[in-house]
Symmetry: C2
Subunit: 104 residues, 2 copies
DNA sequence: GCAATACATAAGCGAAGACTTATTTGATTC
DNA sequence: GAATCAAATAAGTCTTCGCTTATGTATTGC
């Protein structure tokens, strides 16, 4: 797990889509594939990359492997982003709107 | 400019290094290269990718081109991250405090 | 134990991407 | 306007990466 792993993992649009799907709720690898024109090995490989970046973690349940968002990876992105907060005031309105959205 | 452009741009460690250097203060392309074992065209290409992702913007000054962090890209990352607020409540509080500070 | 199911790993292929050298464009100075 | 310097673009090479097919490893149920 490193910034490198994280950003490289998110650099692929398919992996971001997988992550976003997981963010809506934990799923096993097969369920994740539904509606996602992607082969079983490809999904497995993507999950391995996300796992290695601490963006996702697995919990084996019987013969299924349940995947869920790992907050560690997200926290790390937040940490990276916070280093540039000096530039946020320039976009304060956008941030304010963002927070408003989050409130409801 | 899209999430795709942004994450793809940050997916490369050299580009992140360039961005981080710029975050410490605006620099022209030549100055950026200092201490960075990277050719002039390579730097130019990296800057083009970062620019296209709205992570960086240029301002031509004479025959130099000054580069600086573009808050738009950062705001967009913040936006992406905010969609997963459910997984990092503590960080949201920090952001809220930050905005409160900035208000006065 | 054996068949079936869920997932992971191996090996190889093709496309994308990060570099290189060479050249071009734009701006300054004499 | 010729020489010089900063940066961008072009074209080609080599590496990385995301995919494929094939096979291996767990786990379940008969």
């Amino acid at each position: 797990m490193s910034d490198d792993d994280i950003f490289r993992a998110l650099g692929d649009p398919t992996r971001r889509a997988i992550f976003e799907k997981l963010a809506a709720g934990a799923l096993n690898a097969s369920a994740l594939r539904e509606g996602m024109a992607i082969s079983q090995p490809a999904m497995s490989q993507h999950l391995a990359v996300l796992r290695n970046a601490s963006l996702v973690r697995e919990r084996r349940q019987g013969r299924y492997v349940n995947y869920e968002v790992d907050p560690d990876g997200l926290a790390r992105i937040a940490g990276w982003l916070s280093r540039y907060r000096a530039y946020w005031p320039a976009r304060i309105e956008a941030l304010r709107d963002l927070l408003k959205d989050m409130d409801q």
